[in-house]
Amino acid sequence: MPTSAETPSSPDRLAVVAGGGQVPAEVHQRVRQDPAVLEIDGFNLWYGTKQALHSISMPIPHGKVTALVGPSGCGKSTLLRSVNRLNDLVPSVRITGDMRLNGDSIYDPRMDVIELRKRMGMVFQRPNPFPMSIYENVVYALRIDGETSRTVLDEVCEKSLRGAALWDEVKDRLSDSALGLSGGQQQRLCIARAIAAEPEVLLLDEPCSALDPIATGKVEDLIQELRGHYSVLIVTHNMQQASRSSDYTAFMYLGRLIEYGPTTDIFTKPVLRETEAYVTGRFG
């Protein structure tokens, strides 16, 4: 049972949520100062009869890193997987509301899911390189798109691997199996694969949770470098990671968006004491 450190003058929002009630999300005005690449609009999601997301509305700014934080099971990953409609693969999922990627409705029935996913890149919790060579892993998205020109593929491969800070380590063994790389290298390879098709938004689902501290450091440095080049939406458990590498932070709890604002504000002067309690580690 979460407990608030402060003496409640108004009812504790987390307790209200835990009791099944609704609370308004505290969205800072400054998140609107950058144009949004992704607009989440009143999004609800159910697994069977269990509601996992409750009317989430938030803009994801273009060219920035946005972190989703919150305790386990709060729906961060579900929200992320809803963006590229990976949840479609789960048969019992039902949704209402919509998301818009650069103005295009993601949940429009006429939207081609495959084309949609090509506009995004995603990196998962555990490194999941494909059972093929390093080179083929990186250019996978292009291959399935039918790209056959060797020069184009070579160029994209090098560019993506450089972008993922992996080029120098693997440039001499591009034709080796990707499964022979270390965990950290594999995860950076997955990032290279995700950025190879120039995604409009990059989705990172706890990309460091399965890595050792040194590999984590390298991937975090990489996220820093991706900042500005790509619009990144990252799910993380790690407060330091969120504070270090993101521009905006959203705090979620039990499927609700609680507070969303610039990272510095969220970590230093959050509007809600519940957020402060979470980011300072007093609960969660």
Binding site: N84, L89, K118, N128, F130, Y140, I144, L179
Partner: protein
């Protein structure tokens, strides 16, 4: 509250079963029992099978009632009354009417091993044991005396054997070719008659062609006759005279002798030579004497070809079916029922598959093919082409038989592909088929190979269904040869597993056939092991490539 709870007693030392030793012993014991049985079986087969061709010494036995017998001891046992007795391969069937005879130890008064005792393996009539006396050419005595005759025989025999072999090859291959040509022309006549009616110009033209072909064939036949006559004349009259232990003289034509040796004076090298020569004949030649002697080459060929064709047929069907079942079909009672049905299919007796293969593949499918494409052959000589058992139908039947194994193994392999890989592929914008084709299938290939290995091991050892759909006691025309269209999947074939049954239980000379059965079994096990080793090697390569260990 704590005081009310019953106190748990603690023993001062953990029980034996807690340490787990009994279970180690139990599981280890079960494994060793299995291993002992398997190794025992294989060891027995190898020991028996490998020794068949080793030249054994010839004993000259003198019995108390004055008989003299030359033979090799092939078994020895202790009778219930404690006296020993031995089974002797006496050979010389045409003289004694038997190949083997039992002798009690008390009957035998003397045993010697004369150096000149000779084993002669013949094309017909089994072996002959005796002492060479003279080498004859017609009436003329070329060499007199045991030593001289044997030396002269050793010098002349290879050439005689080669002449016989050449004549045999001409008869089998070149004459066969001519006969097929003749048959082709005859079929053309029948099909012209069928298509344009009797007495039509096309029919007349075909008849004329047939006449020309017949004349050419006859001419070629005469040329072949001359050649074979010449070869046979070279061997005519040459004979080796041998005396049996009792002094009876028999002249054996040189061309009928496959191999002769004097085992009692062979050194190790000479014995090895005979051993290798017998293995060479076994692996490379056609069978003779109702399969109980000679080689098993057509059966090796048939076994390997059938197993490989079966694997080629079952792999795509099984993999595609399993793909649909695992990747596309909605999980529910229907797929569960289908899965149970497939598993149960593996338990259907194989003879049922044979009957199905005969009824459906041979008669329905093959019969329709014959009606559509081989109608002239059906009419001309009343012989079905595809409408009877053959290599293709046998392979298809066994593919059906092993399908459940492949489907189950493939499903296992598909379900062991981590979901994270599929999701990663979808997230890159791949469609379901692209994901299956590029990620799931390669990753599942080693597991699919496992299914194929199991299927091959099961299929190569089947006999019952094959007896119905195309395996024959003797089928010397291989399904691939030099005559157009080179591949003849409709031909009947020989199979090692069936040969075991045939030689072991249908042979008139069962004592002589017994070691052959072991040798054939040994060979079959070796071939299956070899096929499996190749498949395992391929699987190992695939595994290294697609399923490297993740820390």
């Amino acid at each position: 509250m704590n005081s009310e709870r019953p106190r748990r007693r603690r023993s001062s030392h953990a029980a034996l079963s807690a340490h787990g030793e009994p279970w180690i012993w139990l599981t280890g014991g079960a494994l060793s029992l299995c291993l002992a049985m398997i190794i025992g079986l294989l060891g027995y087969i190898v020991a028996q099978g490998a020794g068949t061709f080793w030249p054994r010494p010839l004993d000259l036995l003198e019995t108390s009632d004055g008989r003299r017998v030359l033979g090799e001891e092939s078994a020895r046992e202790v009778a219930p009354d404690g006296s020993g007795r031995r089974l002797v391969r006496t050979a010389n069937f045409e003289l004694s009417g038997k190949h083997f005879e039992w002798f009690g130890d008390s009957e035998v008064s003397a045993t010697t091993r004369p150096a000149e005792a000779t084993v002669v393996e013949r094309l017909e009539g089994g072996r002959f044991h005796g002492f060479p006396t003279r080498l004859l050419h017609g009436e003329e005595v070329v060499a007199d005396g045991g030593e001289a005759a044997w030396n002269e025989f050793s010098r002349l025999h290879p050439a005689a054997r080669k002449r016989w072999r050449d004549a045999w090859r001409i008869d089998k291959e070149e004459r066969g070719l001519l006969q097929r040509r003749l048959r082709g022309a005859r079929l053309a006549v029948v099909s012209a008659e069928l298509e344009s009616g009797a007495e039509s110009p096309a029919h007349a033209a075909a008849r004329e062609v047939e006449g020309n072909v017949a004349r050419e064939v006859e001419k070629s036949e005469r040329a072949l006759d001359e050649r074979t006559a010449e070869l046979r004349a070279g061997n005519e009259g040459w004979g080796l005279e041998l005396a049996t232990a009792t002094g009876e003289k028999v002249i054996l034509p040189l061309a009928d002798i496959v191999r002769a040796c004097q085992p009692n004076r062979l050194a190790l090298g000479g014995k090895l030579g005979v051993y290798a020569s017998r293995w060479g004949e076994f692996l490379g030649d056609d069978p003779r004497e109702a399969n109980s002697a000679g080689g098993v080459f057509p059966a090796i060929w048939g076994t390997v070809a059938m197993t490989l064709i079966m694997a080629l047929l079952v792999a795509p069907f099984g993999v595609l079916a399993a793909l649909y079942l695992r990747e596309y079909a909605t999980r529910g009672p229907v797929t569960a029922a289908v899965r149970i049905a497939i598993n149960n299919l593996a338990g259907v007796p194989s003879i049922v598959y044979g009957a199905f293969g005969l009824g459906f593949f041979c008669y329905v499918l093959g019969g329709s093919i014959d009606e559509l494409l081989f109608r002239p052959a059906l009419i001309a000589d009343g012989q079905p082409t595809f409408g009877t058992g053959g290599l293709l139908w046998a392979s298809l039947t066994l593919a059906l038989l092993t399908l459940p194994v492949v489907i189950v193994a493939t499903e296992e392999a598909l379900s062991s592909v981590p979901n994270s890989m599929r999701e990663g592929s979808y997230a890159c914008g791949a469609s379901k088929w692209q994901t299956i084709r590029r990620i799931v299938l390669p990753r599942a290939l080693p597991g699919i190979m496992t299914g194929l290995i199991l299927a091959m091991a099961r299929g190569a050892g089947e006999v019952a269904p094959l007896m119905l759909v195309g395996v024959k006691k003797l089928a010397l025309d291989l399904p691939i040869d030099g005559t157009f269209p080179f591949v003849h999947p409709e031909r009947e074939f020989m199979h090692l597993a069936y040969l075991i049954y045939d030689v072991g239980f249908q042979s008139p000379n069962s004592q002589a056939a017994k070691p052959m059965v072991f040798t054939i079994t040994f060979l079959l096990v070796a071939i299956i092991a070899l096929l499996n080793l190749v498949a395992i090697w391929i699987r190992g390569r695939l595994r290294r490539r697609y399923v490297a260990q993740q820390f």
